[in-house]
Amino acid sequence: MKKVVRIASFAIVLFTGVVSQAQTSTGKSAATTLNVNLDNAYDIQIGQSSVSIDMKTPVHFQQGNNSGKQTGHVVVSSNTGYEVKVAAESELLNNGTSIPVSTVTVTPTLGEYKGAGTAPTATDVTLTQNDLAVGTEKTIIAKNSGETKREYDVVYAISAQQANQYLNKTTGVYSTKVTYSLYAK
């Protein structure tokens, strides 16, 4: 049985020999078409799910205060140019008492590049400080070219001018939900 099988394989060798006789001595070639299918893809992540600004000391009420830099707070991946917009879900609320969310400014700065390979150019990014607004999206980041895993650091701040809005309020935690949205540019 084994012998029969070996004969069969030899027959194949002879057959291929016949086929290739017309080929040149430099060898034979065969080809395939390789397709790379490209489509748009976008992703945005928030690094810290909760951020606090303390208004606890006289200095805070006089000079304002901020959250400190939230490193890698907004992480963007986009295969094209993009914009990041921010909006608040509500005013700052505490058991029915509210403080205008517009008293809080959002300041983005360029963070680290965490994508693969060399960091792409960041000279085409425009960063804009903006006050938060309820239901109104405000652009804080605009970049002409896409990249993967670009981090932006963010500071939330209550300015000295706005600090008086926090006077004469019940103590406690005033909070809102802040949403960042990514758009193709």
């Binding site: 002879l14 060898g27 065969a30 395939t32 078409t33 390789l34 299918n37 295969n79 994508g115 693969a116």
Partner: protein
């Protein structure tokens, strides 16, 4: 006396044999062993998807193309690969995406003669080859094989996806050419 009669008999037979040889005829049997080689590519078209952000972040590969390269050779052989152009084609003309953003990952495939012949111990496969317009050797084998398959995966590594950013969406193509030759 008895010895003598034996001698005579042998002496008589010998001339008969000689007469017989005069009537022989000859033919020559020629076995022509030509160098025979063949190469075929099993899948005429292969896809790599860059359609999700995970693909752009981590890179992506085609599925494994089983027995993509099918080689038969009556001599030792080598298989080289190249792309037709240094750049992927888009809508019929060259794009700015270099073909060297794509790597070829090759592994031993199956015996395709039907005889379950084990892979040659002399086979040397370069596991990863970056595509380019110049030939790069992928497979070398010091002995002949009837019909041997090699599996191929095409890969865009994470470090190269940056070349695919900020490009019009659609299908970018490269013609990949495999060449079989004796070593």
């Amino acid at each position: 006396m008895k010895l003598n009669s034996h001698f005579i008999l042998i002496a008589l037979m010998t001339p008969i044999l000689i007469i017989g040889q005069i009537k022989t005829a000859q033919t020559q049997v020629n076995v022509t062993i030509a160098q025979a080689q063949s190469i075929t590519i099993t899948q005429p078209s292969v896809d790599i998807q860059l359609t999700q952000m995970a693909h752009y972040i981590s890179g992506n590969t085609s599925s494994v193309q089983t027995n993509h390269i099918n080689v038969g050779s009556t001599t030792n052989y080598q298989v080289s690969v190249k792309a037709e152009s240094d750049f992927l084609s888009f809508n019929g003309s060259n794009s700015t995406i270099p073909v060297n953003t794509i790597a070829l990952q090759t592994t031993m495939g199956s015996d395709l003669t039907g005889s379950n012949t084990p892979a040659s111990a002399t086979t040397i496969i370069t596991p990863s080859v970056t595509l380019g317009s110049a030939d790069t050797i992928v497979i070398k084998n010091a002995v002949a094989e009837g019909a041997r398959g090699y599996n191929v995966t095409y890969a865009i590594p994470a470090t190269k996806t940056i070349y695919y950013l900020n490009k019009p969406t659609g299908t970018y193509t490269a013609t990949v050419i495999y060449t079989l030759a004796s070593q």
